[in-house]
Amino acid sequence: MEITLTNLIFYGFALLTVASALVVVTVRNIVHAAFSLMVTLFGVAGLYVFLQADFLAATQVIVYVGGILVLILFGVMMTSGRLEMRIHIERGQLLLGGVITLALLMLLLTVIANTPIWKNLTDDGTALPPTTERIGELILNGPFLLPFEVVSVLLLVALIGAALISRKEVRD
């Protein structure tokens, strides 16, 4: 694998994603973790771009970074005082979690390495047409119409449910 600009950028994104994710799970300050998560999400969006999923990358940025992350930050603000900003971590739990996580990772990597059909699938670098139009076709006029509608209802339910759960209880 020769070293090209594309490759470098890809590795850069990959590194960015993994490193920032590592920061998310290790950093003590929750606000830092949130911002680090934002970097991770951007990194993933970059990887989508490499996969030539332009619409998906855009959605990732808009929804995650613009929506979910803000939501998380709101959560942080509303539940934690200043003292609570620091995430409490227990040493024994950390150790056990690390062990099981590592075991899981080794397992996954073994599976990935040992699956023959996945080995020689490489990106030849040919440009594909933009996906937005086809996704629109698939969602609004194709096989994914029903799932789309169902997910819409799901969102509505989640919205109302969240509002119901989080509102102050009215004791009557």
Binding site: Q93, L96, G97, I100, A103, L104, L107
Partner: protein, 742 residues
């Protein structure tokens, strides 16, 4: 017709009692129990009279299978022969009259209805006994009679003496019943049945087994069954209950003495006649003879009018037993019948006298004990009261003959009827039934003696003759003391009055019956034939039979007919001898002639002496008593029977009880306590340890283990969601690893 009639006879009194009992459950009583019971009895009497026509010579029993136990079947049934028929009439007749008499006598008693209900049950029991064809039925009736006598003797149970007397009667007869039961069981084991008549009955079997093997066991069984009769019929030595039974109301005494209780014993002995062996017959004869003389001598010195009669009954019952024991089957039953009537009459008469005094008894009672009693007592008896602790020794003033006298003007009907009965029992010749029946027995005994040339029977004849004389003496003593002479207690005398009609009518009826009326059935040889005695193989020896033609001629109770019969006898005329053995019949004529002459002589002597002592007063009873002090004392104390029972049997029983109690207390209790101690101190401790350590230990251990496991496992449920997730992941990893490895 036989079955319905017998059923009716039995059911009527039973129904009368049942109505009382069932209503009693509902805490009510029939408004006129007296009419009900009396009517039931009268119906039974009517049926009994109708039954007379149904009697056939050699009847079959009417039986019904009652219950089967294994291979043995008990049957219940009726047996109607001439004896049954006559007994039925006697029982129902006397019972009816007693019922009627009781309406007057018991009037105003708080338990008036109950009295009649008991009378009905009593009659039913006796009737059931009479018609039963098997020993089991007889035994049932027997015990019912005992129960009823207990209830009726103790009818006035508020009185201690009555309560004691009824217990005494019950227990004393029980002694005999045990013997009877053993005898029954002996017969049962031998013959496998308790039925008496018919094909497989005891009598048929006994007759067929006669000559095989020795008959000792049969003698023993006979004597044992006779034990029952000894108890019921108050023979020596179990006679003591009967005089004490006077504590019951007088009508009950009449019923017990005449028709039901005591008659049952004689009836049973007569029923057993076919299986009585020579030995057992002799035992019976001796017991009867001894009873006759013992009771008669005791009666001489009694002052209580009812007790004189009671001892007289015992004595007469002895006669009957003597008759049956001497083989004079018919004579014994004949005397039972005649005695039933005149003794019922005597008792009801005495009841009438007592009733006359009874009205004022209440207020006279207090001062009576003060003077009148003791004066009379002292000079005959030296004030020997101290030892008089035996039951019933206290004479109620209204029954004490020393308070009576001169009553013949006050109570003419009572006097006349009682006089007739007394003449009858005393054996005044020819026109009174008692003479014939007593003479039949005497003649029978003498006949047997002459025929067998037996010392025993000569002796028994002598005893019986002596007793006959004494009987005449004490009976006239009673009459003289009660009805003749000057009133000894003016106050009581003034109050006395003739009894109401309900009481006098039965007296008159019974007085009529004291002449040989119904009794003539016995005179008829064709009507009553004695059963063959198994051991004799010969017809009865001593059967008194005035000419059988008397009955057939329809002149049964004419003086003429009887004289003719006697004449026929004297001529040695064989009246019934178709089946008789000629060898011994030669004795009959002379035996009866001799017996008759002798009995007339002794009866006359007795009456004469009585007249001299108690009416003319030319002889002093007191001086005779003083002269023969020891004999008098023995008689006054009734041969010390009660004292003997008290001092020996009771004391022995008490001593034995103490011994057993001690045995119980020390040895039995010791063993029990020892076992208990061993159990408690060793076994229980061991078991306790086992229980505590091992059983409880196991249980606790299981609980402990469960508890601790639970305690540990509980920690898994941390409630921390992350732990759960951790476990889930670990599981996934493990699963994947495992399946990868595979």
């Amino acid at each position: 017709m036989v079955i319905p009639l017998i059923s009716l006879i039995l059911l009527c009194p039973l129904a009368a009692f049942a109505i009382f009992g069932l209503l009693g459950l509902a805490k009510r009583s029939f408004p006129r129990q007296d009419y009900l019971s009396t009517a039931a009895m009268l119906i039974a009497l009517g049926c009994s009279l109708l039954l007379l026509q149904e009697v056939v010579p050699d009847p079959e029993p009417h039986t019904l299978k009652w219950l089967s136990l294994g291979s043995v079947t008990f049957s219940m049934g009726f047996y109607l022969d001439s004896v049954t028929a006559i007994m039925l009439i006697v029982v129902t007749l006397v019972s009816s009259l007693v019922h009627i008499f009781s309406m007057g006598y018991m009037h105003g008693d708080p338990r008036y209805p109950r009295f009649f209900a008991f009378l009905s049950l009593f009659s039913f029991s006796m009737l059931f006994l009479v018609v039963s064809d098997n020993l089991l039925g007889i035994y049932i009736g027997w015990e019912l009679v005992g129960l009823c006598s207990y209830l009726l003797i103790g009818f006035w149970f508020e009185k201690d003496s009555a309560a004691n007397a009824c217990k005494k009667a019950f227990l004393t007869t029980r002694v005999g019943d045990v013997g009877m039961f053993i005898g029954m069981m002996m017969l049962f084991t031998k013959f496998d049945t308790l039925s008496l008549y018919g094909e497989g009955g005891i009598f048929a079997q006994a007759a067929s087994q006669l000559n095989t093997g020795d008959m000792v066991w049969l003698s023993v069984a006979g004597v044992l069954i006779f034990c029952g009769a000894v108890g019921k019929s108050a023979q020596v030595p179990l006679h003591t209950w009967l005089p004490d039974a006077m504590e019951g109301p007088t009508p009950v005494s009449a019923l017990i003495h005449a028709a039901t209780m005591v008659a049952a014993g004689v009836y049973l002995t007569a029923r057993m006649f076919p299986i009585l062996t020579e030995t057992s017959s002799l035992v019976i004869a001796y017991v009867g003879g001894i009873t006759a003389i013992v009771a008669a001598t005791i009666a001489i010195v009694r002052f209580d009018i009812k007790r004189v009669l009671a001892y007289s009954t015992v004595s007469q019952l002895g006669y009957m037993m003597l008759g049956i024991g001497a083989g004079s089957y018919v004579a014994g039953l004949f005397h039972l019948t005649t005695h039933a009537f005149f003794k019922a009459l005597l008792f009801l008469g005495s009841g009438s006298v007592i009733h006359a005094f009874h009205a004022m008894h209440a207020h006279a009672h207090d001062d009576e004990h003060g003077h009148g009693d003791d004066d009379a007592h002292a000079h005959e008896h030296d004030g020997n009261h101290a030892s008089e602790h035996v039951i019933g020794s206290e004479i109620p003033p209204d029954q004490d003959m020393r308070n009576m006298g001169g009553l013949r003007h006050k109570m003419p009907i009572t006097f006349l009827t009682m006089l007739i009965a007394t003449l009858s029992i005393s054996g005044v010749p020819f026109i009174f039934s008692g003479f014939w029946s007593k003479d039949a027995i005497l003649g029978g005994v003498l006949g047997r003696a002459m025929e067998w040339n037996s010392v025993h029977h000569y002796l028994l004849f002598g005893i019986a003759l002596f007793a006959a004389g004494i009987t005449a003496f004490y009976m006239f003593r009673l009459i003289f003391m009660t009805f003749f002479g000057e009133p000894r207690n003016q106050e009581m005398h003034d109050m006395a009055h003739e009894s109401p009609k309900t009481m006098t009518v039965p007296l008159i009826v019974l007085a009529v019956l004291s002449f040989p009326v119904v009794n003539t059935l016995w005179f008829n040889a064709d009507y009553v034939t004695p059963p063959e005695q198994a051991h004799l193989h010969a017809p009865e020896h001593a059967y008194v039979s005035p000419d059988s033609k008397v009955g057939e001629a329809g002149l049964p109770f004419s003086l003429f007919g009887i004289s003719e019969a006697v004449a026929a006898e004297e001529a040695g005329h064989d009246t019934h001898g178709a089946h008789a053995d000629d060898a011994h019949h030669g004795h009959h004529g002379p035996a009866h002639t001799i017996a008759m002459v002798l009995s007339i002589i002794v009866a006359g002597l007795g009456i004469l002496l009585s007249w001299l002592f108690y009416h003319k007063r030319s002889l002093s009873a007191a001086s005779v008593a003083t002269t023969f002090r020891p004999i008098y004392n023995v008689l006054w104390h009734k041969y010390y029977f009660d004292e003997f029972y008290d001092g020996v049997l009771v004391a022995l029983t008490v001593w034995k009880s103490r011994l057993f109690a001690q045995f119980d207390g020390t040895i039995v209790d010791g063993i029990v306590n020892g076992v208990g101690k061993v159990t408690r101190d060793f076994l229980a401790v061991f078991v306790g340890v086992f229980d505590n350590r091992i059983v409880d230990g196991l249980v606790n251990q299981v609980a402990q283990v469960t508890w601790s496991i639970g305690g540990r496992v509980r920690r898994i449920q941390t409630g921390a969601i992350q732990t759960y997730l951790f476990v889930v992941l670990a599981g996934i990893v493990l699963l994947i690893l495992i399946f990868r490895a595979l």
